[in-house]
Symmetry: D3
Subunit: 307 residues, 6 copies
């Protein structure tokens, strides 16, 4: 990790030395708008889509990044090109954007007029070992009692790093099963999302996922829609309840690093027949073809290289 | 500010050089538990109460500060003593604690076992100029359409820095009146709190404030209860609605830096007769006596020294 | 206005003399079921649709108009024909129906058996000057903190004149920007409607509008569906949130008098590029063609004739 | 009734000729702020309390009556003195205030600058015959499925005449029992109020009533608190549910005209032993003593004089 | 009824002697998962669909029936064949499955390890006389104030016999009209279901019914979808409100015994023209053709045989 | 257990032979109103209070027990006296009442007119071994994601056996810790109750418990109020949240069999210092004194006699 150079407000610094002031809004207010993109075979995947969402988040949050979207894209590619030579061919990167409104002086309660946004662009080698086994066995989705905040408090589509409640929800379920993955409900009891990913289930050959009124409009989620259309599998957004998972044939999460994480157990109940299902496997294959990388194999190699 | 030494994970660094890794949970997850204490005449005010609340927040958040409460108190006083010589007699300090679970490596989705909490203890000169005028004229409390998250999402009593929604709420009202102070409702439409303080109103010589099911259990709020009891003014917790503010005789916010900020206008409607009311003034006086500082005068001097 | 004859319970009276008893249910209970139709080039637009909705509202409200729908339609045309000669060719009319259950004697708490419904049919010259500028610049949609009542209290589809809360909501936003137009949320935080119109947005060339579970099923709203189908623009009903407006490409309101009122700012944030968008402009054109009147031009002439 | 002179915007007109323009905000927006006071032995009861509430309602509604509270009180007494000579000794009066923002021109969507408030002050002989029998037998309280609007839509404490939903709720229960009195729930299922009165129950010698977060803060309700204190009967505000009525010993409504209306049946279930209970009877007696009129007897005479 | 043999935990007993221990979870916890199938011309209708739903309910309830689905189906047919000879040709049967987790010893608070599920399979002659008249005149749907529990408490799709609230809701409406059929709302005020059936309405030739987030996914409901598709009548799931019934052209309930029960009155208001509508009649005909039985005629014969 | 005679509809039958028809409303509708009383030193504890609550439940459920309260009390004592001789001195009894509306013939959807209530009165030896260890170590309270139904669906104060959701909630938490005790939240996220008991916590020497708007008004709960008053420990009803348990000094459940079950862990977090606290121990002692039995010792003996 130390080999990566981080873009930090116009300068390049080694990741291990990338630091920001403790008076930055990132720390004092959790006021970080963010994106996480990944590469496949060293090619950034849907970077433009990620950055467009980043700029919508900034607009909603009422502060700006100090540069236009095109410039941000150019800069991002530059950061990646700078670091890419240090990446082995079989190791992909995580590209992270963190944008904050900059210094926030607590004594005045307001951003001083001269404050400039803090822009961080980070690349990190994508260590997939944590998820490798889940492609084969599926994970255990567990529902915490903590609920995601309703959109009238904070719209989940604004991708941000005020993740206190999500982290608490994840801690709750890990109390009971250290490998559990949170599947959080909204305040009406409907399925929303994982601490860092979207959720899907398959019932009678139809894929279903919550609409984005209570969860992030994930780029990986959009890719599932694209792949389902390509594979001619019906897919729809609807309100889903725990009963839907209990009685589903298959279930999986999606997120930037692992793409698809099958879930084969839900609150201790077997999902379907307890194995990773055929539609989930087809989607992983189709995604692998789309990006020219065997996603599952890459993760398992990542795991072996660690052991 | 540059003269202040910040305690940062066992070391003292000048405030202007106090920085943390961009991979800290503070930034990547907004996972900072926090307290803000202030001094009066250089004496920390209710520091023990602040630290006890800090440790309850940590307990609820399921991570620890790496030291016991007594040690934290000792250390805090040490930080303050180190910086105090640089403070003029008429300038008080803000003492800020930020505790995070430490480094959060994004590629694994989990805190690495060796991770240690990040502990920041900061003192800053308390610049009260922003609030000085409000003691005399009262501020304008404005209700944003954004609502605080319900306790089943995140209990407002856990004092933390995942403040994205509060910052957005504050931005909303400042669109319309740059000097407006947000008075945020909960998802049932009841009054909850300001972005950084509690709210009180006075009706027929009785002080009323929301119960802590939807707001921080502020130390300043507790001081109001203490002073009201001392002054034999009835005070009660209850569910309050915008109508209660519209028809109140007086209204004010409380928070660590300014103690009491009168509100004389509410969404464009005059509160009471539009002047800072007698009970509010009595509370400011009683607080001033309690701490041996004329709170309003100190703020106004703070303002003059800037102009 | 004085030239208009109003139909009032079987008689024709000049508008300036049209009065009803202060004991009428209209005043003592806000119990008025209503419709507002307009003419284009002196032809009433979708009068039958308006009257059908009126009769559904009456059915739901459990009182009747004292005449059948056909009779009401005939009578309405008669009122219009009586007043039409006084309208210049370039001035259209607003046709208003107000139906109440009649006299409500307060001392008994019940409608006396002999009470007959009060029927008012009014025509008024349509002064469009207030909205004229908005066709060009768009208006500023602002979200009040007051929320529309949920359907389990009163279904918004029953068009009635118990509009106390809508009027308060409109007053709230006008405190901050005298030209602001309220965009009211429901009690779950979803977009519902304006004080007197429906709301639409355009995202990626798709038109979206709230379903009628929390807003009036406007006749102008129905006309938008008809025009969108004709223009082959996708249009759908869905749950919408403030974030959807913030990130939309275009937005507009619809209502009987102005047909379409573009919105180019939302709570201080620019919608799209801040200009009236191409789909909105196409809809205005298509509507103008449908009715044989240049809607925007008519409004601007209305404005000039006033200055 | 025809003998009563109504104060209408500075003039006195006979009640039968008291009319307002159909373009008044009372009719076009249901925008009437109101009070209903009654006399006992020709003395207005708590008139000042009613008028103070009226002025709080006006403040919340953001329009004014065109005169100060003292002037309104003076004027009200003048109206009553003018009409009083026509009232027999055993007939009391209902004094009604209706205040509206005045003319509301629909074509501009806004109150014209020259518009003046409409002020109506009405006295009517108090015909109590409708309620007379209920003092003896108790009424049947029935719960409609329609719910009162939540305070975040419209605070029930603003006494106004946008009563569409209350009138619908009352119609619902009268479908099933023509003598039923609605007891409406709020959107959380808690008891709120009747279409025109407050609700109380007695359990184990303690009086309970909903707090004013979902109902009018009735002057009659305040009188019950006063009388309960005087009689040393414990009384408290709390959240109440249908089960509380089903299992109560006694129940009653309060409202200006009838003061107390006992309820002895609730959705077909007998309340207590099915008779008007001792605490209810004591309250009626105490109220009668307070005002020097036998309330129950007056109502029964009112009934006889009609038959 | 005494002629029917009931399958009870491996034995056949006459219905009149079919009893279970008062310590069974059926009684002590209402913990019975259930299905009700019927025959048409002695052929079980969609038995497999019923049993598949039964096994999903058991999965969600976390206990099992002690046998596989195929075995349960075989056994069910065996029970029916055993009893069928006693059924006249014109009398059909109700086949009921009740499965409980078995004995529940209250003193330990837990199911003892040796406990075995209780399996009851019952056939009963289908007495349709109660519903016979409704095919001709339609029933009166009445809305109780009790609301179905939200899915986050108990998902309505788990068909179970903890029906306390549904029975109370039904009792409420029968207080007012002994022939009334409850149409229960959910806690948001949306239409959900009857105490034992689903609800549909017809508006402008389109059939609408609540989605299964707040009601049972009835097999009869599924049959309506099948028949509507066959008859090319548009059918959709959506959120429905009382206003939708008031303004509908037709309305009906569906349930296993009666298949379709038209509703022609709703809370005292006529639905459509007050007669059983053409689409409802077409659906009854199509269903009759599907099963080879004139459903309405069978019910009316059932009624005559009783008189 | 076989030695106990059960009262069943007028007859005495051995517990092992106590059975009811599978067509009883207990089974077909979960329509059982119930009470559980226990003896201390063979004396029934607050039997009258239990029976009064039973009769309130029956009233709310709109069916009756076929006998008056006094008769029920007499009968209950008779049942106990009949079985008491078989109870060793150190073994107490659980006295259970189950009342159902009787036979429910499914084909008519209605209770037949001749149906009589089913009355079961059961005594069982109180096996306290399951809870014995918890007096010493405290239990682990765990929050399931299932929520209790809101009172507008079914008021928790009606003690009934439609316990499907409570049993599911208990199963959820036992998935993760077989010794966990559910602490269920209501649909707003507030603490309500356990599957069979009430919950209390102690903070700063004050006892707090949810009000009965979302939980049973337990007789054991009432005993805690009585003992707290006697011990002069402040006790109050209020809305409580998970944070309150996390930060409490002590916590415990109450229920008829075990009286008080301390909780020392909450969702994996230690409550207080992790030991049974002094106020909890004082309450157990005071209760023991009240009933003349060392409650903890009795439970531990119960445990030893089993091993």
């Amino acid at each position: 990790m130390t080999q990566n150079l981080v873009y930090l407000n116009g300068e390049y610094v080694p990741a291990s030395e990338a630091k920001i002031s403790i008076f930055d809004g990132a720390i004092s207010l959790g006021m970080t708008v963010t994106e996480s993109t990944r590469t496949f075979a060293h090619q950034p995947f849907r970077l433009r889509d990620h950055l467009e969402r980043l700029y919508l988040s900034l607009k909603a949050a009422r502060f700006d990044a100090g540069m236009m979207l095109d410039e941000m894209e150019q800069l991002t590619l530059e950061v990646w090109e700078k670091n890419r030579p240090h990446y082995p061919a079989d190791t992909d990167a995580w590209i992270i954007h963190n944008i904050t409104p900059g210094q926030w002086v607590p004594s005045s309660g307001q951003k001083p007029p001269e404050s400039k946004p803090t822009v961080m662009i980070v690349t990190l080698p994508l260590d997939l070992s944590y998820w490798a086994e889940f492609y084969r066995t599926g994970c255990h989705a567990v529902t915490p009692f903590t609920r995601v905040q309703p959109a009238q408090s904070l719209d989940s589509r604004i991708k941000n790093r005020s993740r206190f409640l999500y982290t608490m929800a994840e801690s709750e379920v890990k109390q009971f099963d250290p490998m559990a993955q949170s599947l959080i409900l909204d305040t009406n009891g409907f399925l929303s999302e994982n601490k860092g990913g979207n959720f899907f289930l398959v019932t009678k050959n139809c894929i279903k996922t919550p609409s984005t009124i209570n969860c992030l409009n994930g780029i990986s989620r959009q890719t599932i829609f694209q792949l389902a259309n390509q594979l001619e599998i019906p897919i729809e957004e609807c309100q889903l309840l725990p009963y839907d998972v209990t009685t589903a044939d298959e279930a999986f999460f999606t997120s930037t690093p692992y793409c698809i994480m099958p879930a084969t157990k839900f609150n201790g109940i077997t999902v379907g027949n307890g194995e990773v299902g055929p539609i989930t496997r087809n989607l992983i294959s189709a995604w692998s073809q789309l990006v020219g990388i065997d996603i599952q194999e890459q993760a398992q190699q990542s795991q072996q290289s660690l052991s």
